[in-house]
């Protein structure tokens, strides 16, 4: 039998806390409509959203690229970006890696009960700015709210549609022996920025994430008639994972030259302090391009004409074998194997 202390009343009508997200905001009722109407729709300002329909109806000509990604970064805000900028640019970049002009994005929010409304507003505004910069429209979406403790503040999913403009398929299977590997810029900034913000390393110097859309230089390559065989953005697992995956899928060998791989001085220092290898650190505004050798010089010049890829460099080449092997020539001229790590790099003191 329960004691008097165990007995309590709970009223099903929610008392609305105007400052934080409540479970009611995901309930499909008035509270949710108010959240969408007051924060989300005005920020994304798209005629499709104003139809208030279950989906967006769009006209697209030609072959379509379609991609999706979910964003769970912690902390939500970090130097150089936030979960909103990642959610837009990440999906825009995946479309670009397919050789497509990014056009439309959907957004799915999973919000944690208790998330400050101001935080949601900031994230939505970041997404708006990033979408404008990338030239894409946010045309449909969904919002759910989960109990406190079931999400890290916000989880975001974006799916994207783009129109393929590459004349031939851009994918690992198109890579050939003799192709040149071009890196679009210096590596390591994003991973260090996020980890420093999350773990509190006590670095006085702030390294900012390189999070940025890369569709413009990619489309410039394609429109200039460069024979682009494959593109890959260098997110989780960094340059190493991307190159290894392509080598394994293509059944070819890739050799990189460490001295050619640009890494900024402060990123080098951070990696030394933490015991990290920059090859494995995630990036959010960088990609590797595999191009025909006769186009390498022109491709480099085109990339260097765009701000986001102004320090592009040729970093390696593809050869016939051993199958799926990636090697890197180091400072002493000796080759070492490059492989994916089994998990995230952790700082070491030993």
């Amino acid at each position: 039998m329960t004691s008097a202390d165990d007995f309590n009343l709970s009223c099903p009508a929610p008392a609305m806390d105007r400052d934080t997200v409540q479970l009611a905001h995901g309930g499909g009722g008035r509270a949710m409509k108010q959240l969408i109407d007051s924060i989300i729709r005005p920020a994304f300002a798209d005629p499709e959203l104003d139809h208030c329909h279950d989906g967006a109806v769009l006209e697209i000509e030609g072959t379509v690229a379609f991609t999706t990604d979910s964003y769970v970064v912690r902390p939500l805000f970090f130097p150089g970006g936030d979960i909103g900028t990642l959610a837009v640019n990440g999906t825009v970049n995946d479309l670009a890696m397919c050789g497509a002009r990014p056009l439309y994005l959907s957004v799915g929010f999973i919000l944690e009960e208790g998330l400050p409304i101001g935080t949601l507003r900031q994230v939505v505004n970041s997404m708006r700015k990033s979408a404008i910069a990338a030239g894409v429209r946010l045309v449909t979406g969904d919002t759910k709210v989960v109990d406190r403790g079931k999400a890290d503040g916000i989880f975001v999913n974006t799916a994207g549609i783009g129109r393929i403009i590459a004349p031939t398929p851009i994918r690992p299977g198109s890579v050939r022996s003799g192709d040149v590997v071009i890196l679009s810029g210096d590596i390591g900034r994003h991973g260090i920025a996020v980890m420093a913000a999350r773990e509190g390393f006590g670095f006085e110097t702030v390294i900012e994430s390189d999070c940025a859309p890369v569709a413009a230089p990619v489309l410039a390559l394609i429109e200039a008639g460069i024979a682009v065989r494959c593109l890959r953005d260098l997110t989780r697992g960094g340059l190493a994972s991307a190159v290894v995956e392509i080598a394994e899928t293509a059944g070819l060998a890739i050799t990189l030259d460490e001295a050619s791989i640009p890494v900024r001085e402060d990123v080098v220092a951070a990696c030394e302090l933490l015991g990290f290898d920059p090859l494995h650190v995630p990036n959010e505004g960088r990609f590797a391009a595999f191009v025909a050798p006769e186009d390498a010089g022109r491709a480099l010049a085109i990339l260097r004409g765009h701000c986001v890829s102004e320090s592009a460099a040729i970093i390696g080449h593809v050869s016939a074998g051993p199958l799926g092997q990636v090697a890197c020539r180091g400072a002493l001229g000796v080759l070492r194997a490059v492989d994916m790590l089994s998990g995230e790099q952790l700082p070491r003191i030993c």
Binding site: F203, E204, D266, A270, G275, C350
Partner: protein, 84 residues
């Protein structure tokens, strides 16, 4: 063992030798480091840092001497470094 990284002291604060701190520049990253084990370290010195502590002041002259020697390895190293 253990990962130790060289950096240059930009500034020092604190009077208590056990809690004296230095702002150390590791070539682009600046971090505060405990100088309890490097009481002789001054601004401008290079220190070797492990787990947030400076464990040695780097002997710049000795480093230069060895590097110069390494440029011509036909000459034997004369440093009295051998001990029995």
């Amino acid at each position: 063992m253990c990962l130790a990284v060289p950096g240059r002291i930009l500034s020092v604060c604190g009077d208590d030798p056990m809690t004296r701190l230095g702002r150390v520049d590791f070539g682009g990253i600046i971090k505060e480091i405990n100088l309890a084990f490097a009481p002789e370290a001054c601004i401008g010195d290079y220190v070797l840092v492990h787990a947030g502590f400076a464990i040695a002041v780097i002997d710049v002259a000795e480093a230069d001497r060895i590097l110069t020697h390494l440029q011509d390895l036909t000459e034997p190293l004369d440093d009295g470094g051998g001990t029995a």
